[in-house]
């Protein structure tokens, strides 16, 4: 069986696009963007013991 290596190539974007992403992220950082999902996880794992 052939062994496989995965080489990751980050698709380049412009400096403007990078700055825009950083700006958007700055506006939301630290804020829970997935409140429904965190509530669902909390509820599902309420009385569950983690395996490790």
């Amino acid at each position: 069986m052939k062994k496989e290596a995965k080489k990751i190539n980050v698709i380049p974007i412009s400096k403007e696009s990078k700055n825009r992403l950083i700006q958007i992220l700055d506006q939301v950082k630290g804020k829970d963007l997935f409140p429904e999902k965190t509530a669902l996880a909390q509820k599902t794992l309420e009385n569950v013991k983690l395996p490790i």
């Binding site: 963007l33 997935f34 999902k37 794992l45 569950v48 013991k49 490790i52």
Partner: protein, 192 residues
Amino acid sequence: MLFYFSFSNIAAKKLINIDIYYTAFSIENSIIQYFFETRGKRKILKAVQYSKMKTKNNETFYNLGFGDYNLENKSISDKENSNNGDVRIVFNTVLSTIPKFFQDNPDFPIYFQGSDSKASFEKECRNTCSKNCTQICKNKNRRIRIYTYFLDKNFKHFLKDYVFYGFDDELKIFVEYVPKNNYTAILIYKKK
């Protein structure tokens, strides 16, 4: 910029190129966020979030969330499929955040559960869905099925670096992950 997945095999004979989108990163209030913009048919902003949480037993885990970020209403939609023609790149970009996460947080597991795995999903879906499913709602647990399908296909490869558990929804416990079994959530630990 080129780098390697932490689970890549350095002594490889065959090289596979995986494209990912550039991600912007932030960490604050125990919330780790990655933002990227997809370049499929449309430009779509995507967000990946790891939120630090605790069980009642005070065990820490990070909940993984992923979805489209709407700039207008400044919120996430993780309920729709974008169908933007770049699913593989998007998927690889999300996956590429996992080794980065474990680099900084090797002691805590990642928990993933799809928004379509909640108990009330089937009822909500039947109210709006046009599929007219008879017995089983085909949309329920769809997201976790996509993720576990990918995991199953690459399971041996991932086992080198990670330990997986599946959530048994009937027994309400985590069990050792067995490919092709059905789970409503998965838990991933970094091997030490």
